[in-house]
Symmetry: C2
Subunit: 190 residues, 2 copies
């Protein structure tokens, strides 16, 4: 059996259910960053620097015989690993965790039903996304490659490195600030 478990973003954000699944697991896969969020012993830890298709195949194979957990930072269904397993056709169970989106909304005091969440990690921003601003604010998950000029001179709030070293929240106009982190969230008001 394969569980994809959300570790949250900050230390202490793992749920009791997530902890229980980790404790029972024969093998736990995860990134270095995901393991840093966990402060208890695991039977077997496999630290991965990237999740390519050979890793998914290995996990699928091992999941047939053992209790395998894939530890995901944040929530597996927020720009996360859950979708990748779906695309690879690998059957998994998902245990949610606190995502960076939730953390950002908590800081901004904005409700999830007031925004549209857009994933621009390692992908270009499609300008037609700005159409959503007719109805909702935008919450864009971005990295330092994100080209802020695509947002024109709109007022934005840029949240970077939430719960990490160098956490910062800055307000400004999109054409006068710069994304400096690969863990950035851009709030664009509608």
């Amino acid at each position: 059996m394969i569980w994809v478990v959300g570790a949250g973003i900050c230390r202490g954000q793992i749920t009791e259910r997530g902890k229980e699944l980790l404790r029972k697991a024969d093998i736990v896969y995860g990134s270095r960053r995901a393991f840093e969020l966990i402060d208890f012993e695991l039977k077997e830890k496999r630290v991965l620097s990237r999740f390519d298709s050979s890793v998914f195949e290995e996990i699928a194979r091992e999941g047939k015989e053992k209790e395998v957990v894939v530890l995901s930072t944040g929530d597996p269904m927020v720009a996360g690993l859950g979708k990748k397993f779906r695309e690879m056709g690998v059957e998994v169970e998902i245990e949610p965790g606190i995502s960076s989106v939730q953390l950002a909304l908590a800081k901004l005091k904005v409700d999830l039903t007031e925004v549209v969440v857009v994933d621009c990690h390692a992908r270009d921003f499609d300008s037609s996304t700005l159409d959503f601003l007719k109805y909702r604010h935008l919450l864009i998950l971005a990295d330092r490659r994100f080209d802020l000029t695509k947002l024109g001179d709109r007022k934005i709030i840029l949240l970077e490195n939430l719960c990490m070293e160098g956490e910062s929240i800055r307000e400004g106009f999109a054409d006068s600030v710069e994304v400096k982190s690969d863990y950035a969230i851009i709030f664009v008001e509608s």
Copy 2:
């Protein structure tokens, strides 16, 4: 100080950070359902059947002198209490919890960045919301008053009472099923 803490939806979904805030609190407000998710002792529990403006005023007053926690089912920023405190102008800190939206996405294996989340709890469905279907799937938070005929004959997945008695997930056409629960989520594919 006032913290609004998400309790999650299922038992064992509270985070370590949430637990810590609850343990330190002088007073904890919450609904009967929110307290049912917590299995440890609290200093002082105040069970509320509704959050009207007099309750918000009382909490604001007490928060000036004591450590007050408002326990919210799910996540305070998902069709939740956080927005209400903002609207009332009461300063609070938010500690996220697992929401029913995350639970639904985990079951559906759909990513948050593939949907638009719509709150139709105790409010009517605005048909212009269907415009979003050009870009995204819809995830509608609904109660039994929700009029499914507004979705036409679209194929839907109806998730009810997640992590509660009578949990059910049904597929069907919007004009041939009925919402039976006040804790319903309707997934409409784009």
